[in-house]
Structures are given as C-alpha cells and as structure tokens.
Amino acid sequence: MRVAGGAGGGDAAAAARYSFARHWAEQVAGTSYVPWGPAELSDYLLGLLDRLMELLSAFDYDADAVSQVGADLVRAHFTGSETLQQTMVVLGEGLPALFGRPRPAYLDRRLVQALGALAAGYATALRDRALDEQDGIHRAMLMATRQAEKRLAVSEARFRTMFREAGLGIAIGDLAGNITDANPSLLQMFGYTADEFTRRNVSEMVHPEDAPSIWQSYDELVAGKRDHFRVEKRFFRKDGGIIWTNLTVSLVRDDTGAPSYQVALLEDIGERRRLQSELEYLAYHDALTGLPNRTQLCKRLDAIFARDEPGLRIGLCCIDLDGFKAVNDSQGHDVGDQLLVAVANRLTHLCPGPGQLVARMGGDEFLVLVERTSAVDQVVELVEHILAAVVTPVHVSGHELAITASIGIVEQSVADTTPADLMSAADITLYWAKRQGKNRYAVFDRGRVEEEIARYTLSATMPAAIDRDEFVVHYQPLISLSDGTLRGVEALVRWQHPTYGLLTPDRFIGLAEDSGAIIPLGRWVLATACRQARRWLQRFGDDAPFISVNLAPRQLQDPDLVADVTAILTDTGLPSDRLQFELTERAVMSEETGPLQALAALEEIGVRLAIDDFGTGYSNLAYLRRLPVHTLKLDGSLAVGLGEIDTPDPAAEKIVSALVTLAHAMNLDVTAEGIETPAQLQRLRALGCDTGQGWLLARPGPAHVVAAQLRRRATL
C-alpha cells in the first residue's frame, strides 16, 4: 500500500524519472560490461528505479526486496566496483528530489537503509556470481583436463602398442645418454634384458670402428644443435657379436623448445649387409672354381695401371685347355667341371704370391696375372711349370684324364699399354700357341701383331677396293723365241693401295684366296684383260697378242666360272681362242670332279689352258695327258738351274730338254718363264722352248707400254 506524499504519478514525474535513469545509465556506462546499448541500459535502470521508489514509499519497508535490486544489477552483469560506487552517488544525490515536496519524514532514514541494502545485495550477488563462475571454470578446467588425459591415454596406448610391436628397435634415453626404455625388438637385437639395457648408457655403445662423425652428430644432437641424424652403425651384442644397424636418433624438445630427451630407431641391416657381401663375392668370383672372375681381374688390372710406379712391368698369361670340348662331350659336363676345378687348384697352387692372381674367364679359359715382373723369362718359367702341371693326369670320377694347355704370354711395361690392350695381346698370343700345335706357349711379339693387323686390314678392305677401282692390270709380254715377235701377254694384277702404294700379287692374292675375295677380283681382272685384248685386236689385227690370265684354284671351284667367262667374252667381243688361262699344277690335280668339268667346259668354248709354274710340283706329265691343256709354262727356277755361260749345269739341261721334248710329243707348247740373262735365253731357245717370258725380254707394264711395242713393230 502506498504512503501519502510518496512517489506520485503524472507526466512531469515520469519525465523526471526517465531523465534520472538516463543520467544513471551515463554514469555507469563503461564501468561494467552489459550486453546493451545506451537506450536499453537506460530502460533497464528505469525499471530498477521504479522498483526502488516503490519500495521506499511502501508502508512496510522491505530491506530484502531492496537488496534484490542490487542483486539484479549484478545479474545484468554489472560486476565492476565502480558501478556500485556510481550508483550509490547517483541514487543518494538524486533520489530524494524525485519524491516531490514535502518529502516524507522517514525518507532520509529509509534512503540510507535502502542504499545499504542495495549495496549489500550487490555485494552478495557479486560474491555468489564470482563463486559460481569460479566453480564453473574449475569444472570446465577439470573436464578439459580429463578429456586431455583421455586423449593422451589413447595416444599413449597407441604409442605403447607401436613401441612394443615394432620390428624396429626403439630406445628412449635422456640427454645424459641414460637409456630409459628399450622395446622388445631392440632387446632381441642386442640380447639384453630390459633391466640390463636400461642400466646402460649411450656412451657404452661405442664401436672402435665408428666413424668420428657419428659421435660428433650425437654430441650436437644432445646439445640441441641438430634435431636428428641417420647413420649406419655397428654395435656389440651382449654375446660380443656384431650387429649392423641403420640408426636414426631424434631429439625431442619440450614445448618451450628446450631439448628434453632422445629417441633412437635401430633397423637391423645385418641380413642386408650379408646379402650385399655375398652378392659382392658372387660379382667378383667364379661360382664353379671359386677363383676370381673376369670382373675382379679387370678391377685388379685397373688398380695396377692406376699406380704411379715408374718402370712397373706386368705379365699376363692366357691359358686355354686343349680339346676341353671333347672331354665335355664325351665324359659329360660334370666330369668337365671337375676337371676345371682340378686345373684351377693346380694353377692356384703354382701362383701363391700376393702379386699373382689366377682368374677364370669362363669356359676353359684362365688368366694368370703376375705383378712386378722383371723380364718375360720370369713369366715363361712360371708358364713352363703350369704346362707341366696341367699335363699330369687328373683323376675324375674314376676316369684318368690327360689334358694339355696352350698359353699366350705377354709381359710389358705398364706405361706402354692399357689393360684392354694387354688382355687382347694375351688372347692373340694364345691363338698363336694354338695354331702352332697346342700344348705350348707363345710369347707376344708386337711386330707380328702389326703384320697380322696389316694383313687383316688388307683382306678386310679388299672388296671395297675392287669397287673403288684401286686395282690395275699390268701386262708382261710372251715373246716367240724363234722370231722375237710378241705372241701374248700375261695379265698381272696390281693394287694401287692408297696407303701402301703399288702392291704386287704376292702381297694380297693369298689373302684374297683365304677371304674369297679372289672370286670378284678374278672376275674383274678377267674382264679388264679381255677388254684390253679386244682393243689390241681391233687396233693391230693378227699382230695383237693373246691374253693369258691366272686362274686361282678357288676360282676353278667356283660353279659360276664358266658362265662368267662366257659372259665376259660375249660382253667384250674377244674371240675365245685369244684367251688363255694359267693354272697351277696343284689346282688341276684335284680329286674332285668340279674343276675337271670346268676345265672341259672352258676347252669346249675354245679357251686355251696353260699349266703355270711347271717343274715346282709333281711335274706329272702322264696326268696332264688326261687334261685339255695346251701349254706348259716352265718355272723360272728351271731357267736359273741351267747356270750361266761359264758355269753350265748339264744335268739340269737334260731335265729341261726332256721336259720340252715330252711336251712337244704331247702337242703342248712350252713357255719358259723367268728369263733374266742372255745365257738363259740362248739355252732355252736352243732347247726348243716356243716362247719366253722374263725381265730380260720385257718387264710387266701398263697396257700403253705393250701398245707402244706393237706400234714400233708395226712401223718396222
């Protein structure tokens, strides 16, 4: 119920209260945080003001209700002490005026009581609020801690599982190197129990062969200068054995970044290293004999050649068993293998020195390397022992096997060669020993190699040289010994070699026969000679010489020979009776039918045949009867045998005389070759030779020289 003279209604009073509330709001604004703007704040305080005025005017003063107003301020989040202070001032100074006049007598006393109650309510509420909030934040802290612990427990459990189950060895240690924890894998790796391990310190894990950098890295790590390092490191097991590990050590820092502890991960790489060394062994050794293999020998050679040692000489022997393939084929590979092992053992026994290396190159080929030789004799002596040792019969699976070896020896100054050249020299030399009849050695000879190389080069380049027209044909006249006329010319091939100059047939015909190049070369010579003979025939008619072309045995075996000759004669237009082939006795004395048929076919087309170099072989005239031969060319050695004017040889003269007589009896013409002196010419003419050939009469020369001779004759 209302007290008379209390807070009255009316617009003026309301405006005063509104204005008061706004003033109150301005005074407390910023003293505490409340979630309102100025207008909302003012409205709220107006509400409190109304309540206060009503309580002050009430008949029965209710101190609890007034203190509730103070509590409501706190509930609105007026929590600053300055708020209360400003409120006391605003209310104390301004409230009485709001009650109008006359003010009730009790008002001053009530006002003091009310301000006290409001302050008490504010204080109590503030304390309660603070306690509640403290309680709330503590509970939140506990809850967060529990959750963190739960998370930690989960992650700890995860880590523990990993630690326990990992195949990697894991150790945890403090910064002083004390090992605080080691997982089962690590214990198994080292052979320690957990207790034994945790009594150890990292500093006891030194291996004498540790690289200094390992421990330098470790010191940097525990000093916080690096966060981790990874090395391959050896450790001693408890039993003294060695374990090789891939070691990674990491530094763990606390949340301020200071080094806290260290974690080491150890991967056992012993197996990998064993495998690696086994692979390395296999890479450098022959599986059957256990000897070093080619790779190791080459490595050793490279190392020797890399040495800076003036005057260093080295010997290399290439050993190949003779007829080993036959042993393998007849006795089986197992026996062959055992034989190789036995030979390998003997070689090893003979070459025990550190400067000697026996290697198996594969198959039945071995190499012996001798370092720091003084001369080849030293190696030859060793090789003689080797040859003797190899021939001693070997007992294999109940068989007694006798085998021999061929050996190529090269002994040179390191400065003069290279590893590859040395190996190839030994190989070539072995081939010489084989060719010389096996069960022997040969010593490398650089001159011989160069000659072989030159021969090889000639042989290899011959087909291209034919295409490039490097060959020329020279012609040597065949002169009638009765009237001195030119009867024929022998075509002689020359090689105008770009490097070696003009080469005579003795330098390359043998090679051409070996390589088969004789077929195209012979065809080319024949075509060239026939073309030339045809030109002379056109120019000089019956005075023109016939052409005589050499036919090698291999050409005679060529099934295309007759067709080629026919084609060339047709192409050049040379009558076949103007062509003569010269064959050696050896070439026609064949058991085979091919050459004989070829001779018959050539005779059939009208080509003349001459036996060249007669008198150096069997000189089997009886056999010649069966052949379609027209001419015998007596070898130059017979002319030489006749002697000079002051030293006649009657016996030789009788032989030549008999040959000429017999040949004529068989209707064969006789040409004397190699006439070099007037005495020879005189005798051979006297003995009845039909034609002569030789330097005394005319040297071989280009076609135009022959033509000049013919022109001279024609003008006579």
Binding site: E26, H77, I137, A140, M141, D255
Partner: protein
C-alpha cells in the same frame, strides 16, 4: 584408426589464457590467478583495456544484429572464448529465435565451459578446433549438424586474427574460409591495432607473449587486406566504436582511444 587430434589438449592453468584474460577484462570470474595477474598488469599499462573489450563486445553485438537484418540466420563464431553475457546466440536468437550458432575455440577450458553452459541447447554447438585447421572447423560433425554452407552464413572472427601471426598465413586461411562460404555470406572481423595508441601497443604485445597466443597488431590497411574477396559494408574498416554506433555508446567521443578496428564484409 582415427586421425590424430592436432588441437593441443594441454590444460595448463599456470599460463594465462587469452580467453580467460578477456573474461577478466569484461568483469567475469571465469579465470585463474595467472589470468588475473596478467590482466591486472595489462590494465596497469593500459587503463583503457576494459573499455576496449567492452567496445569490442558491443561491436560483436551490433554486427550480429546487422547480419540478422541482412537475413543471416546461421553463425560461425570462431575464437568465441568464455561465454559470459550477451553471447552471439543470445543476441541472434533475441531477433530470430531459430538462429543457429556454432562456437569454435582452441582453448580446451573455454570449450569445456561453453559446452557446460550450452548443454541441452539444440541451436548451438561448440567445436574444439584451431582457426587454421579450416577443414577441421568446417567438417566437424557438430558444425555440419547445424550449419548449411550452401546458404549464407555469418562468420565471426571477433578479436581473433591478431592472434594469428603472419607466418601462419592468415590471408591464406581466410581465403579457404571464403571459398567455403556461399556468396551473400558475411565475415565480421575485429582486430587489435597499434594505430591510435602506439605507446601502449608495444608493451601489450610483449605481455601477450606469455600466453599460448601471442599477439600481432595490424594497421588499418593490413586489416582491410585480410578481407580481400569481401565487399566491405559501410563504413568499412573503422575504430570499434565507429562501426554503426548506437547513440551514446562508450568511446564514441574519442574513437581512436579504442585501439581496435572493426569491419564486416560481404562475400562476393
């Protein structure tokens, strides 16, 4: 296996926490002695701090009301700290009872307290995550339960980004949030600055190095750059009391004394 929880679970009340110090500035008691000790030192150096915090809080309130007015009814409040009074959901739901709010904080105690306070409120969620873990924030099941990112969202980073140093690439982090926000969404930012009160800013930064969340003050231009890709709502980047003030607001007479910038941007 679940992915590791990258948010620090450490609860260490011997170190001041930014969220609890902030609570103290606002007159709250959700704090521990270390927080109060630091807050008192900070206030001794810079007596305006409580007013600045109140102004910051008032900006947040005005910004939420503004966004509600723009039709936004879902909010992501990152760095929400300790709930006191006038929290985002209270402001928002006063205007739109259906408004949804997801609170995000990195402080495990703040998160635990928020969850206790908001237990049973279906329209709010509290996510424990670091601002920089954008995927962790946006794809947390709690976030996905309440927010529909195909519709405009109001993202609040109130008094947050000054705890993100340049080394953590705040622009890159913001770009990732921006890409997740549909056009028509808003970003509200308030940020501490050395502009206006340069003498106080330095020691204040030094003081905050003791917390788990050191401070990086930024200039007006730097704050504007953080809102790249957003159209700034007028009046742009201004001191806290100047952003759409209510008549008679605290600090309105000397806005530069309130050393913080405020801005709201609309996603293009």
């Amino acid at each position: 296996m679940t992915l590791p929880d990258w948010v620090s679970g450490d609860v260490d009340i011997s170190r001041p926490s930014a969220a609890r110090v902030y609570d103290y500035y606002l007159g709250g008691s959700h704090n521990f002695p270390a927080d109060r000790e630091m807050a008192r030192q900070a206030i001794a150096l810079w007596p305006e701090l409580p007013r600045i915090m109140q102004a910051n809080r008032a900006f947040m309130r005005r910004a939420v009301r503004y966004l509600i007015g723009q039709g936004v009814s879902q909010f992501l409040d990152i760095g929400s700290g300790i709930p006191t009074v006038g929290n985002v959901h209270e402001v928002a739901q006063a205007a739109d009872p259906e408004a949804r709010v997801v609170y995000v904080d990195v402080d495990p105690v703040a998160v635990a307290h928020s969850r206790a306070i908001l237990a049973g409120d279906d329209l709010t969620e509290v996510v424990h995550a670091d601002l920089r873990d954008v995927q962790g924030v946006l794809e947390d099941p709690r976030t996905m339960r309440l927010l529909d990112l195909s519709r405009p969202v109001g993202v609040l980073m109130v008094a947050l980004l000054h705890f993100v140093p340049a080394a953590a690439d705040p622009a890159g982090v913001l770009a990732r949030y921006r890409r997740a926000m549909t056009p028509g969404s808003y970003l509200a930012v308030s940020h501490a600055t050395h502009e206006g009160q340069p003498d106080q800013a330095g020691p204040h930064v030094a003081l905050y190095r003791r917390t788990g969340t050191p401070m990086t003050m930024r200039s007006r231009a730097e704050v504007a750059a953080l809102l790249d890709g957003f159209d700034l709502v007028p009046p742009g980047v201004v001191f806290l009391p100047q952003w759409r003030p209510e008549p008679g607001s605290v600090g309105a007479d000397q806005p530069e004394r309130i050393a913080g910038f405020a801005a709201v941007g609309r996603r293009r």
